[in-house]
């Protein structure tokens, strides 16, 4: 065979023109949501008095805190190419576990910090169960976690009993609205979790393997990565973070409440996707999610302050999310068109 391959004559110059559009696309994918956030914030600052104030900024960050804690766990799972729908159930189960183990008006428990740790441990166990069922029995993650969502709610309902358990541990009660070194406690937790997730994703074996598995699970397996083990670890972390979110929300309410997480799944998943983390896995990350959460919180806050009719607000919120998702996906639209 002495055929001359056509590609022999492709020059380096031409190769570089092939790779450049990809760079632009990636830039748009990561910068797009950030630009959207800035545009949104500027628009509200101009149109809505009371938006651009220090107090309101603090309120926005505080309101973003618990969703951030939850969304970081969700981000890791989505990076794997899986999804964790059990957030609300795990929050409820962990929140009630926490209240009933700490000093409360229902029983004589008073475990203090141990209650905090155990409650998060319950979340981690939920995550491990998710991960094990998903990897060992090979059930799609959305089915498994849909199931554990309701197991969590059921467990919380049983724990709830018939009267609302109130948190009486003064140390924890002081966290609600309290400050550490001048920073509200929930913000401290949110910041630690966000920075932690960033460092893990960027520098740790766990994080990089998560990207690898999300990029191509089969290839990762061939490379010798123990894929199942890492999946279980990631689900475990996500469960623990849902647990932490549930405990923090419970502390803020001061009571155990089965519906403590209601609405959080939609908020966190749409924040993850809005931020530019692809549901197919392997792309995106904690910083994207940070932007996504802020977009949603700013949107809710700004619309509320704008004094718009509440009926219109809900529709506007949905509309902006749809537009943002389309805008995020626009750069890859052309490619999608020819893929299949």
């Amino acid at each position: 065979m002495s055929a001359t391959p056509v590609h022999d004559v492709a020059t380096l110059e031409q190769q570089s023109t092939v790779s450049r559009p990809k760079n632009n696309r990636r830039l748009l994918l990561s910068a797009g949501p950030a630009v959207a956030l800035v545009v949104l914030a500027v628009a509200f600052a101009v149109l809505t008095p009371g938006f651009a104030t220090v107090n309101n900024a603090r309120a926005i960050v505080e309101q973003a805190s618990i969703p951030l804690v939850l969304a970081m766990g969700s981000t890791l799972v989505v990076l794997l190419g899986s999804v964790d729908l059990s957030v609300e159930g795990v929050m409820a189960a962990c929140g009630l576990t926490f209240v009933l183990l700490a000093s409360n008006n229902r029983n004589d428990n008073d475990l203090g910090w141990l209650a905090f740790v155990i409650a998060i441990g319950v979340g981690a166990v939920f995550g491990v169960v998710n991960g094990l069922i998903h990897t060992r029995i090979r059930v799609p993650s959305f089915m498994v976690t849909l199931g554990t969502w309701f197991i969590g709610l059921g467990m919380a309902t049983v724990l709830f009993g018939t009267t609302t358990p109130q948190l009486q541990d003064q140390t924890f009660r002081a966290w609600a609205g309290g400050r550490w070194l001048g920073v509200p406690v929930v913000i401290v937790f949110a910041a630690l979790v966000t920075v932690g997730a960033f460092v893990v994703c960027r520098y740790s074996k766990l994080g990089r393997y998560t990207y690898a598995i999300g990029g191509d699970e089969a290839v990762s397996r061939v490379a010798g990565i123990p894929v199942n083990r890492f999946k279980v670890i990631v689900f475990c972390l996500a469960g623990a973070l849902s647990g932490l979110g549930g405990v923090l929300a419970t502390i803020r309410l001061g009571v155990g409440d089965v519906s403590v997480g209601s609405g959080q799944l939609f908020l966190t998943l749409s924040a993850v996707v809005l931020g530019g983390t692809l549901l197919s896995g392997g792309r995106g990350g904690p910083l994207h999610t940070l932007v996504g959460v802020l977009i949603l919180v700013v949107l809710g806050n700004g619309l509320l302050l704008s004094g718009a009719n509440p009926y219109v607000q809900q529709a506007a919120q949905g509309l902006v999310i749809v537009i943002a998702v389309i805008a995020t996906g626009w750069p890859v639209r052309d490619r999608l068109r020819v893929v299949k």
Binding site: F160, T162, T164, Q166, A176, L304
Partner: protein, 361 residues
């Protein structure tokens, strides 16, 4: 138990399969006496609620239980978790059990009522529905098996609690209102009462009103945002339920303005809400007496089933009516701090029409 009663019961059960309605209503209109048509042994009581994690409904079920225990009749609790389909299918399995069902239900949505009352009627049971029904259907249109529809005057709750709130604010200042779900008619009628009370004076002005979906978290974040926007202008917060009022209280406390901002809830009288009133953090809530609600519906059904109450001859104002309720403030909160005993609950429903507060307006 008389032999006659048993025979009647056997007859009734047999009739269910063929012509239940005819059998029951004809004997009914024949003028039931103290002997009754259905014996206690052949009855089962059913209390159907949305969830047990809601303090109001948990207390309702306790009331039902106390009443059923006092008669030695089994009580089955149906919890349908906000799912109309689940409510109906669970009900149908109980109806299929063959006993005469006495049902006290808080339907999931207005639209569920016809299906529920028809299912009970077809099985020869008795039902009292509470809180919501379609306007164009009334118990007397359906027959004696739908004993009564009872509800609570939301406008009155909204009006009275707003009055208390305005008084506590010294008759001046700015107020924020937190509604429940916008599409919910109870929430709307409470808000109508709020607006009515506000309209009758000029010292207190409405700064903003937002829906918080009966959700404590949402009430918290909404209040936090509005406190930032209006700052010290806010001196009062009115919420359609205790849980939203408590969410608002948390935001107010975190803003360091506990005590300066008065908070009133229009309904529920939850233990936490009552505690907040005792502590001076809230100024008002309203109680429909959930224990009474849970027992009274069953008591009406029981009396209809035994013939103690001749449903067919009751006037319309005893078939669809408001139940009286009580405003709770710091003055009377102590009376409600401890739950009633089982005897007190049973006593309160000896005359199940005793708290009839008038026909629906």
């Amino acid at each position: 138990m008389s032999g006659l009663g048993r025979r009647f019961a056997a007859l009734a059960v047999a009739a269910v399969a063929t012509m239940s309605l005819g059998a029951c209503s004809s004997t009914n209109s024949g003028g039931g006496t103290a002997s009754g048509q259905v014996s206690d042994d052949d009855m089962i009581m059913v209390s159907a609620v949305r969830s047990l994690t809601n303090p109001y409904e948990a207390a309702w079920v306790e009331g039902s239980q106390a009443y059923a225990d006092s008669l030695g009749i089994d009580l089955q609790t149906i919890v349908y978790n906000g799912d109309s389909q689940s409510a109906l299918s669970q009900l149908q399995s109980v109806l299929a059990g063959g006993k005469t069902v006495l049902l006290n239900i808080n339907p999931n949505t207005t639209a569920d009522t016809p299906a529920i009352v028809n299912a009970v009627r077809a099985a020869g049971g008795y039902v009292v529905t509470q809180w919501s029904k379609p306007e164009d259907i009334n118990p007397w249109d359906v027959g004696d098996n739908w004993v009564a529809y009872v509800t609570y005057n939301g406008q009155e709750e909204g009006y009275d609690t707003t009055q208390t709130l305005i008084d506590s604010m010294g008759g001046s200042g700015g107020v924020i209102a937190l509604q429940g779900l916008l599409a919910n008619d109870i929430s709307q009628s409470r808000f109508a009462g709020f607006e009515q009370a506000l309209g009758e004076q000029s010292g207190v002005t409405l700064l903003d009103q937002q829906p918080a979906d009966f959700d404590r978290n949402k009430a918290y974040t909404t209040t936090q945002t509005l406190l930032n926007q209006y700052g010290d202008q806010v001196t009062g917060i009115w919420a359609a339920t205790d849980s939203m009022a408590l969410g608002a209280l948390q935001a107010v406390t975190e803003a360091g303005r506990a005590g300066q901002v008065k908070i009133a809830s229009a309904a529920d009288a939850t233990p936490e809400g009552l505690q907040a009133i005792q502590d001076g953090n809230m100024v008002a809530t309203y109680t429909t007496d959930p224990y009474y609600n849970g027992a009274m519906g069953l008591a009406l059904c029981y009396q209809a089933a035994t013939g103690a109450l001749d449903v067919g001859s009751l006037p319309h104002e005893d078939r669809a009516f408001y139940v009286s309720q009580t405003l709770i403030t710091a003055d009377n909160v102590a009376d409600y701090a401890t739950p009633p005993t089982a005897e007190q609950i049973v006593d309160s429903v000896q005359d199940p029409l005793g708290r009839n507060d008038g026909a629906l307006s």
